[in-house]
């Protein structure tokens, strides 16, 4: 496991050399452009909380937040920290961008578009990410697209008949019909339209800052690339979950034809690999994420694992335990949390320990009402009504952790979840599924079991609930582990060092 702090910048220069950029003066506070898609400051969630904590925790820095949003009409749901001085919205949907264009010769779109398509349709073994040369070629194509987007209408060019024709020809030339089916004219139009939306950040004026910090991979990377190409701004990228992995998993639910899915995923994969290659510092939030980044071409010399941190004073060790043996879940009601597995596991626990209770705290997002109803139905079917209970959002999350003997997380996908670290800070032992960076957070402070395995979850709970000594011991380990590895101060200091070192490099 990588030691996340202290961080020293002993890395080779990024592939795209930094051009003379803004040099942070010693007398003024450095400006950081923090970039994220579909999160802060319009929505709640782990990444939003992380962004808010990062900005609030660094009053000695000024922040510009660049939000890749839906249509630009979103409203902020967070209190604005004093040092968050600018909010830049880049809508990916809604009306196409009509921004001010810069002067200069417009590169031939046909040639750059052709290169772009060839990069997406390379044979699997020499795809962007798996081959450094292919990644560099893709990056150079992206830079030309950026130049074009700054001087002409990239959106219109991407969906024009000539471009669609090029896509069809490139597909036929790649000879992938056998594996992915035929790309119809309609498929080509749908794929071009989707890519047009994803590339919209390239048409936006590049952000100006001392450091550009990408809170995730994906299309946020385009904002960073544009800043680096235009102003030589150094880049740091954090990854909570693995954006690319989530794109693959969401494929199944999307109503798109297979060739379109293939083109979009190839685009995301190429973009991710290009971004990994271009950033000056890559900060996975767990070693689990690191594996995906390395596989997609990230340079280990420029990587530092940075675990999320919390303020342990906000989550002090719980002094007491409830009277009845109680299992607690804290998080939003969401299929990714796989609450069906939790409820089925609890049914086994309840059979063994009839006095046991399951208390589930957290909001039900509008989109997940149906899933919530299915959980309530399952509780009724299993005869658990009254003992397995949804309690909604709790004003102080620390109270929810204190309401149980142990905390369970049965997710099928996670990054490095705050709820695990927070509940560990209160001294509660953990029963979690082995997804994302969860096992790195839990360490030996609980049990990590396979996802979707309700019997394993139940077995771990049944081991902990009757054994006071085991719970106390694991709870103490959990608290100690948080204090040693996952505090907010350690985390903000580490990022402060990165910003400082990158500023010096840029200077």
């Amino acid at each position: 496991m990588n030691n996340p702090v202290p961080f020293r910048l002993d890395m080779p220069p990024a592939v795209t050399p930094a051009s003379p950029g803004l040099v942070p003066s010693t007398r003024r506070r450095p400006r950081i452009a923090l970039v994220a898609e579909g999160t802060y400051p319009f929505y709640t969630g782990g990444v939003s909380l992380w962004c808010h904590q990062l900005i609030s925790g660094m009053p000695d820095h000024r922040f510009t937040f660049v939000s890749l949003c839906e249509d630009g009409t979103e409203r902020s749901t967070w209190d604005t920290p004093d040092n968050l001085t600018d909010l830049v919205r880049i809508p990916l949907w809604g009306k196409p961008p009509r921004g001010r264009r810069t002067r200069g010769p417009v590169p031939s779109f046909a040639a750059v578009h052709d290169a772009f398509l060839r990069a997406l349709l390379r044979p699997q073994e020499c795809q962007v990410g798996l081959s450094a040369a292919a990644t560099d070629e893709f990056l150079s194509t992206m830079r030309e697209l950026f130049t074009f987007a700054q001087r002409a209408d990239l959106g219109a060019a991407l969906v024009a008949n000539d471009s669609i024709e090029r896509m069809l020809l490139a597909w036929r030339a790649a000879d992938v019909d056998g594996h992915h089916g035929r790309l119809t004219l309609r498929d080509a139009v749908v794929a071009a339209d989707q890519i047009e939306h994803l590339l919209r950040p390239l048409s936006h004026p590049p952000v100006r800052a001392d450091v550009c910090h990408l809170a995730m991979s994906g299309v946020s990377a385009l904002v960073g690339m544009a800043a680096k190409w235009a102003n030589g701004t150094p880049l740091v990228m954090s990854e909570h979950g693995v954006y690319l992995r989530e794109r693959y998993l969401s494929l199944a639910t999307e109503k798109l034809s297979h060739p379109v899915k293939m083109l979009l995923v190839r685009f995301h994969r190429a973009l991710t690999s290009a971004a990994y290659r271009m950033v000056d510092v890559l900060a996975p939030h767990s070693s689990y994420n690191r594996r995906w980044q390395l596989y997609n071409g990230a340079d280990p010399a420029r990587m530092r694992t940075m675990y999320n941190g919390i303020n342990p004073d906000d989550f002090p060790a719980a002094a007491t335990e409830p009277a009845d043996p109680t299992i607690v879940f804290v998080g939003r009601v969401d299929p990714l949390k796989d609450l069906h597995t939790l409820i089925r596991a609890f049914e086994i626990v309840h059979r063994e320990l009839p006095g046991a209770r399951l208390r589930m705290f957290g909001p039900v997002p509008e989109a997940n009402k149906e899933y919530y109803a299915s959980c309530v139905r399952l509780i009724a079917e299993l005869g658990l009504t009254g003992v397995a209970v949804f309690e909604g959002r709790v004003p102080r999350q620390v109270d929810a952790y204190g309401a149980g003997h142990l905390v369970v997380l049965t997710s099928v996908s996670e990054g490095f979840p705050y709820t695990v670290v927070e509940s560990m800070s209160t001294g509660r032992p953990q029963v979690c599924t082995n997804v994302g960076g969860v096992s790195e957070a839990v360490g030996d402070a609980g049990f990590v079991v396979p996802p979707r395995d309700h019997a394993a979850v139940a077995a771990a709970c049944l081991k902990l609930l009757p054994d006071d000594e085991l719970r106390r011991r694991l709870g103490a380990i959990a608290r100690r582990r948080v204090l040693d590895m996952f505090t907010l101060d350690q985390w903000t200091d580490a990022y402060r060092d990165i910003y400082g070192d990158l500023g010096e490099v840029a200077g």
Partner: protein, 459 residues
């Protein structure tokens, strides 16, 4: 566990989850979501990590043909769409009673007012509601339909009072405007919700009363009871339409409603087009409401055929969609889709001409056909063709050419009618109307041709 080939055990569980893998990372992501870790990949399957395991699984996963099925588009039912034209003509059944009660001038003013407001407001309501529906805002769509419908009814009421204050008709004319406008707005809501049959059922009493009144020889003593039945039907349509907007969908709207000004702003092009179209048609037809029967009924084939125009515009979208799957290139698509446009326009004209010819034959049979009457029917048939092309342009959101062309033709037609028609009297407006409708059709066709082959419009 198959000790010789442990990966074989993975395939049956993985196949339904990955019916068509994009690449090895796709399989790796799914493997991990099923709990397979690097440690398991090493210890159970003998590969260094999940990625290597995924790579070895990839060629063994059969490609499920079903995964290549493309999402299908559902078009509205043909019969339902065909009914839309005649549905809006249902209140005609009680017009004789209105005529007897109000007299020609008052009825004419009221009808023009109600039809114009209803046409424009109905278009705005439908466009706003469809827009919100597209965003998954079913409940807000219902609220907006109620809000805009009520606002339009109040506006119609106010305008009718003003009209009654400065001309003939009095309160009866105001009541007629409210009933007619209420029907149009209610019908727009019921059609939006696909409740055409309910609309017919609600209007049945008015139609029966109107037919009985006509069959009885338009007796003065029956005109008010007939109107009362008509008004009752209209009130029922409004009430049922209002109830239909209260959506009890299990699926909630997104958390934040769409801003109303933004929603209304987006309807402006459609509303503008509806206003110009209403102006074009009513400027001609309103003046002939009290003319001899063959002239006053000249608009009938167009009204009856409107459903056909709407239906064929849907069919055009379906046929173009099919071409998007079969055409080998944008150039081939451009060529073929233009042929489809001409074919569909020809079919629309054929149906309209059929309806017009039937009317001409009936009028000729009864000795009521004049040259002017026949010419006016022909002009409406040509206008029907223009409306069909207008549907296609509007469906592609090409409002700029649509608005420019229709407004330009209206700007030529109205002054020309004022200046030239008196010299060609009587009915000097009719040849100018025919010429303008022809010009409108040709210009709209030209505008359509310019962008019909742009494949991005069919996404």
């Amino acid at each position: 566990m198959n000790r010789d080939d442990p990966v074989a055990d993975l395939i049956p569980a993985l196949a339904p989850l990955v019916p068509a893998a994009v690449d090895e990372l796709h399989i790796a992501a799914v493997l991990e979501s099923r709990g397979v870790t690097d440690a398991m990949a090493r210890e159970t399957y003998g590969y260094p990590d999940v990625f290597a395991l995924a790579k070895s699984v990839s060629p063994r996963l059969a490609f499920a043909a079903a995964a290549l099925d493309r999402p299908e588009r559902k078009a509205p039912g043909a019969l339902r769409t065909l009914a839309h034209g005649p549905l809006y003509a249902l209140p005609c059944a009680v017009y004789p009673a209105v005529f007897v009660t109000l007299g020609a001038p008052a009825m004419l003013r009221g009808l023009v007012l109600a039809t114009a407001v209803g046409w424009v407001a109905g278009m705005g309501m439908s466009v706003a509601a469809f827009q919100l529906l597209g965003q998954g805002r079913h409940r807000q769509a219902g609220r907006v339909l109620r809000l805009l419908g009520s606002a339009a009814l109040l506006a119609g009421l106010g305008a009718a009072w003003l009209l009654a204050a400065v001309g003939p008709g009095g309160p009866e004319m105001v009541a007629f405007v409210v009933a007619q406008l209420g029907f149009q707005l209610g019908a727009a809501v019921l059609v939006f919700h696909g409740k055409e049959l309910r609309l017919v059922a609600l209007m049945l009493p008015a139609c029966v009363a109107g037919v009985v009144y006509y069959a009885a020889g338009l007796p003065a003593e029956l005109s008010r009871p007939t109107l009362l039945v008509g008004a009752a039907s209209s009130v029922l349509v409004m009430a049922v339409a209002g109830y239909a907007t209260v959506v009890r969908s299990a699926k909630p709207d997104p958390p934040r409603p769409a801003p109303l000004p933004r929603t209304l702003l987006a309807t402006l092009p459609s509303v503008g087009y509806a206003a110009i179209s209403a102006g074009f048609l009513l400027y001609t037809d309103a003046r002939y409401l009290t003319a001899p029967f063959d002239v006053s009924i000249g608009v009938a084939p167009l009204v009856l055929g409107m459903g056909v125009l709407e239906w064929r515009s849907h069919r055009f979208a379906e046929r173009a969609d099919a071409l998007m799957h079969t055409a080998g290139s944008p150039a081939a698509f451009r060529r073929d889709v233009w042929r489809v446009v001409l074919g569909e326009l020809g079919l629309c004209m054929l149906v309209l001409v059929g309806l017009g010819t039937a009317l001409l034959l009936v009028l000729a049979e009864f000795g009521s056909l004049s040259f002017e009457g026949a010419l006016l029917i022909d002009a409406h048939l040509v206008l029907g063709g223009a409306y069909f092309i207008g549907f296609l342009l509007a469906n592609h959101q090409r409002f700029r050419p649509l608005l420019v062309v229709t407004a330009a033709v209206l700007a030529v037609y109205v002054p020309l009618t004022i200046l030239v028609a008196p010299r060609l009297a009587p009915y000097g407006e009719i040849p100018i109307f025919l010429g303008s409708a022809t010009l409108l059709l040709l210009l709209l066709l030209t505008a359509l041709r310019r962008g019909i082959g742009d494949v991005h419009r069919y996404r």
